[in-house]
């Protein structure tokens, strides 16, 4: 069972509620600009590329590649029961980068040994973890794992 962490449970705002509603259903939604065509994440009310307000929600494939990661030997408050958890930046197929966690990597006390199972650039795919009744957050795992 994944640890439910009270700390850090996101609080949606009106313009981000569609993202969190989708996450609850196991879907990763991002924004796309209808004027310049560029996708972005985190979702905004203006396009950070061309500043158009003509932006729409689209469903991401949830697939991407590992841009970078770290292994947190020193844990954040609330994460003491998840030693050596991995924070990751993932580049989605659609282009935007998302900060999340890499899961399904065999645990080892020594982060150097864990790193042997991880390559920057490896394909990853989204999976969701329930943090509360209302909120699930996207994590990423090695593709096909």
């Amino acid at each position: 069972m994944p640890q439910v962490r009270r700390m850090g449970v996101p609080q949606p705002t009106p313009e981000t509620k569609p993202f969190w509603d989708a996450a609850k259903r196991g879907e990763l939604w991002i924004k796309r600009c209808k004027d310049c065509g560029q996708h972005h994440y985190y979702p905004r009310v203006v396009c950070p590329n061309c500043f158009s307000r003509n932006v729409e929600w689209v469903k991401s494939s949830g697939k991407g590649s590992l841009y970078t990661y770290n292994i947190n030997v020193r844990t954040a408050p609330g994460w003491e029961n998840n030693p050596n958890y991995i924070i990751a930046l993932v580049t989605l197929e659609e282009g935007p980068r998302i900060m999340s966690n890499l899961v399904n990597i065999p645990f080892d006390q020594d982060p150097v040994k864990m790193a042997q199972h991880i390559q920057v650039g490896m394909p990853v795919e989204v999976t969701f973890e329930e943090l509360s009744e209302e909120i699930s957050v996207p994590r990423f795992k090695p593709a096909g794992s």
Binding site: Q11, P12, R44, F51, A88
Partner: protein, 380 residues
């Protein structure tokens, strides 16, 4: 004085002014959305394109709001002194534009004061995008950047160790440094992991302390007791607030602020006698050397090899012992700046760089987010 305050009269004008779509009671929009709507509407009102904006002002978080809007400014001002802030921003913008430092300033505000929607996490994406990954502060952000550099360029822990060990050697020459015990390469490699790929000795100290400096015109400066250290050039920029939105984790905004400072100063890399680069982590030094153009992308390991930046090397770097071994209160840029002043005054005793005439300081803030570069000289 080249300038009289009266020279600022009639130089600068407001060309756009607008509010958010709705005002009053707006329970369906967050503070961030109201903020960005107002910015968008003001730019529409003026007919200004986003790419024309080169200066951003708001009360407390220009990093987050510029990140949200996708703006990389040449001037950033988060002066937050209460409700008066936006009038004060106007004065700062007038001085900056009249002097030619920037051309187009965007001053923004947005608050959900009544409905309190997203009012806590002010600016940018806020906590809802970053609170749930377990990011334990700066080491977790900077280590991801370092990992990317390692994967992209083959940078190694040996490269990082060169910086940690050289910086400690400088600290050993500084009586005020906190960490003065010798550090070997072995000590570095044996130190515990914090956030892999960072060892403990990749990370700066956490200390208490304060610093301050005083600035006046060169003309007035001659009336005071210390040798004036003149500012030759400066530059500033930021590319994001949170590390997740950094355009590329292998270079920083010093790519913008550095050349601007050097151009203003009329100096090149070879003219610099002493350099202080904010060393929150060993990697911060490496990525800044590359971003400022002291070496090419991916080359900092070669650049620092063989203790080149240590006392006696041909590139004196972080001569006070840096944030890594001297002191790091949380916002170390003050101390990096003070050390350049002391070097140029010739006050540094055992660690004095001989005949130092021109010095450069580069501060890095946030999550490799913001940079300020300043170049100073004692040749006045």
């Amino acid at each position: 004085m080249p300038w009289d305050m009266r020279d600022l009269r009639r130089q600068v004008a407001i060309i756009g002014a607008a509010e958010s779509d709705q005002l009053g009671i707006v329970p369906d929009k967050s503070a961030v959305q109201l903020h960005v709507e107002a910015a968008w509407n003001a730019m529409e009102d003026a007919g200004v394109k986003k790419d024309e904006i080169d200066a951003v002002f708001n009360a407390g978080n220009t990093l987050g709001m510029a990140e949200y809007m996708g703006i990389t400014p040449k001037l950033t001002d988060s002066t937050a002194v209460g409700g008066s802030s936006f009038v004060i921003h106007l004065g700062h913008a007038v001085a900056a534009i009249a002097s030619g430092y920037v051309e187009m300033a965007l001053v923004t505000h947005g608050e959900s004061g009544r409905s309190r929607v997203g009012a806590g996490g002010f600016g940018g994406g806020g906590d809802q995008w970053y609170g749930w990954q377990g990011s334990a502060g700066p080491p977790a952000s900077y280590s991801m950047a370092c990992m990317r550099h390692m994967a992209q360029y083959g940078t190694t822990h040996d490269d990082l160790a060169e910086i940690a060990v050289a910086t400690r050697k400088w600290a050993q020459l500084n009586p005020r440094a906190l960490m003065r015990d010798p550090m070997s390469f072995e000590d570095y490699h044996n130190s515990r992991w914090i956030s892999y790929p960072f060892h403990l000795l990749d990370c700066c100290l956490v200390t208490d302390g304060g610093g301050a400096y005083i600035v006046t015109s060169l003309e007035r400066a001659r009336n005071y007791k210390k040798k004036p250290i003149a500012v030759l050039g400066f530059g500033e920029s930021h590319t994001h607030g949170n590390i997740a939105q950094m355009p590329d984790l292998t270079w920083t905004a010093a790519r913008n602020s550095g050349p601007r400072a050097m151009q203003m100063a009329g100096v090149d890399h070879k003219d610099l006698d002493v350099v202080n680069l904010y060393d929150s982590f060993t990697y911060t030094v490496g990525v800044t050397l590359e971003s400022l153009g002291f070496c090419g992308p991916g080359e900092f390991g070669q650049f620092v090899k063989g203790q080149r930046t240590a006392p006696g090397g041909d590139f004196p770097l972080n001569t006070n012992g840096g944030g890594l071994s001297y002191t790091h209160t949380g916002m170390y840029g003050m101390f990096a700046t003070l050390e350049i002043v002391r070097q140029l005054r010739g006050e540094c005793g055992d660690r004095q760089v001989k005949d130092a005439k021109i010095g450069l300081v580069n501060g890095t803030g946030g999550s490799l987010s913001s940079t300020g570069t300043a170049i100073m000289t004692n040749q006045v």
